[in-house]
């Protein structure tokens, strides 16, 4: 019994399909619960007023935007090392979700920034690096679309993902050097006792858990779809010959 068993597409679909409705259900319950808790049962911030409530969408989406790329990096490495097709397809399936999360973080940030900073957009290091991350996702997805042969596409996008990760990290620290920011420091870090007051923090944790489960459910669904698309194409090719 090893994890690589699930690299078999058939086994993957058979195992994950029954899981998806549960994951989706739990994530929706957590999201609805967390957002209601956050919106109606937490006090307004003493300086930011009720605008602080967009926090419950902004922080989870920003967190996911980065971690989806990280997941793509891992699945790309697995593809390059072990040549499991499911792994490459999972990376492909995750990219559109990641780009949506990035856009969501940027948009909720702009909506929050307008009343707080007086501007929709500032060339702040964090904002800028998210914009760059968005461009990386765009290039990655465009490369998948451009190449017809699926194995070539998987290989090239994996190489791009690895090189892109290095440059994304480099850009993240280069923009720090380039401009000082308006953005507050990280809301999530392990080296501090309390990053955000607990009263806001617990509903945010529920929302983050909801986002993570939602992402897992969507990736499993989309990966299964990609596998089926691949299968249909193989069948069509066989019928023609």
């Amino acid at each position: 019994m090893s994890i690589w068993e699930y690299a078999n597409p058939k086994k993957f679909i058979a195992t994950t399909t029954p899981l998806v409705p549960w994951l989706l259900g739990v994530s929706i319950a957590l999201l609805v619960g967390g957002l209601i808790w956050g919106f109606f049962f937490t006090p307004d911030d003493f300086r930011q007023g009720s605008t602080v409530k967009i926090f419950y969408l902004h922080v989870p989406s920003a967190l996911m935007a980065i971690n989806v790329w990280f997941m793509m990096l891992i699945t790309s490495l697995v593809w390059l090392v072990r040549r499991h097709h499911v792994s490459a397809l999972a990376a492909r399936a995750a990219a559109p979700i990641g780009i949506i999360m990035t856009v969501m973080a940027l948009i909720t940030g702009a909506i929050w920034g307008q009343p707080m900073w007086g501007t929709w957009w500032a060339w702040d290091p964090r904002l800028t690096s998210f914009l760059i991350l968005f461009l990386f996702y765009l290039g990655y997805m465009a490369l998948w679309e451009a190449i017809e042969d699926p194995d070539t596409a998987a290989d090239l996008t994996s190489v791009l993902c690895i090189v892109g990760s290095v440059f994304a990290v480099l850009s993240r620290y280069a923009v720090n050097f380039w401009n000082q920011g308006l953005h507050q420091p990280a809301s999530l870090s392990l080296d501090k006792e309390e990053n955000v007051a607990d009263v806001f923090w617990y509903p945010a944790l529920v929302c983050i858990a909801g986002f993570v489960l939602l992402f897992v459910a969507l990736v499993l669904m989309r990966t299964a779809t990609e596998i089926r698309v691949r299968r249909i194409k193989a069948l069509e090719a066989r019928m023609r010959s």
């Binding site: 290039g139 465009a142 490369l143 070539t152 290989d155 892109g164 440059f167 850009s171």
Partner: protein
């Protein structure tokens, strides 16, 4: 390796384009900017470092798709891949040849274009130094982008989309070095970072580029 470098340089010189087009493009972008933002000398002085760097970057981008495309079309790339020279070496040489035909002339021409944009007198040294240190990274990153897209028929636009985000750190440190030089501040830190990016690209990206080439030649 030397033979391949000389072959690439000879091809670039005799086929034209390599030197001329990139430089002409650099000149045109720099000339267009004052039309866009107005001829005020103070404003131009302020934005000159950034404009010169962005223009150099775009000029370098222009000739990237020629790095492998011509060899791919006439079939010499598979020959190079099967030659005793490792493919990593081929990628490295291609990057160096691209720098000599594009980055080096841009670096040499940039101070002259600085006059057009009313660059601060103290910044010329830093402009030259930052381009000399930074353009090799642009060439090597571009070689990687070209290797990724060599098999595609209309890869040029896609390659720009892939390569330009990778250029961000180089651009930031390069333009920052010139800006600090113009303000009379110490520009050593961004220059060191720039040199680090260049050395890192030359050390690692040939491996990524050759991996992409192997996939594309399969």
């Amino acid at each position: 390796m030397i033979a391949l470098l000389r072959r690439d340089l000879a091809l670039a010189v005799r086929a034209g384009g390599g030197f001329g087009l990139g430089l002409a493009f650099f000149l045109i972008v720099v000339v267009l900017v004052p039309f866009g933002v107005g001829p005020e000398a103070a404003l131009l002085t302020l934005i000159a470092p950034g404009i010169l760097w962005v223009a150099a970057l775009l000029a370098a981008l222009l000739s990237l798709d020629r790095i492998f495309a011509l060899d791919f079309e006439d079939g010499s790339l598979p020959l190079l891949a099967t030659s005793p020279l490792p493919l990593e070496g081929v990628a490295l040489i291609k990057g160096i040849a691209h720098w000599i035909t594009t980055g080096l002339p841009l670096t040499l021409a940039a101070p002259a274009l600085g006059f057009l944009l009313n660059l601060a007198p103290s910044a010329y040294v830093w402009l030259f130094a930052s381009l000399a240190l930074g353009t090799p990274a642009l060439s090597m990153i571009g070689t990687f982008g070209a290797a990724l897209t060599v098999g595609l028929r209309r890869g040029g636009l896609l390659m720009s989309l892939l390569v330009l985000p990778l250029y961000v750190p180089t651009l930031i440190f390069g333009a920052e070095a010139v800006r600090r030089g113009a303000d009379g501040l110490g520009a050593a830190t961004p220059l060191l970072m720039l040199a680090g990016i260049t050395l890192g690209s030359f050390a690692l990206l040939p491996f990524a580029a050759s991996a992409a080439l192997r996939v594309n030649l399969k």
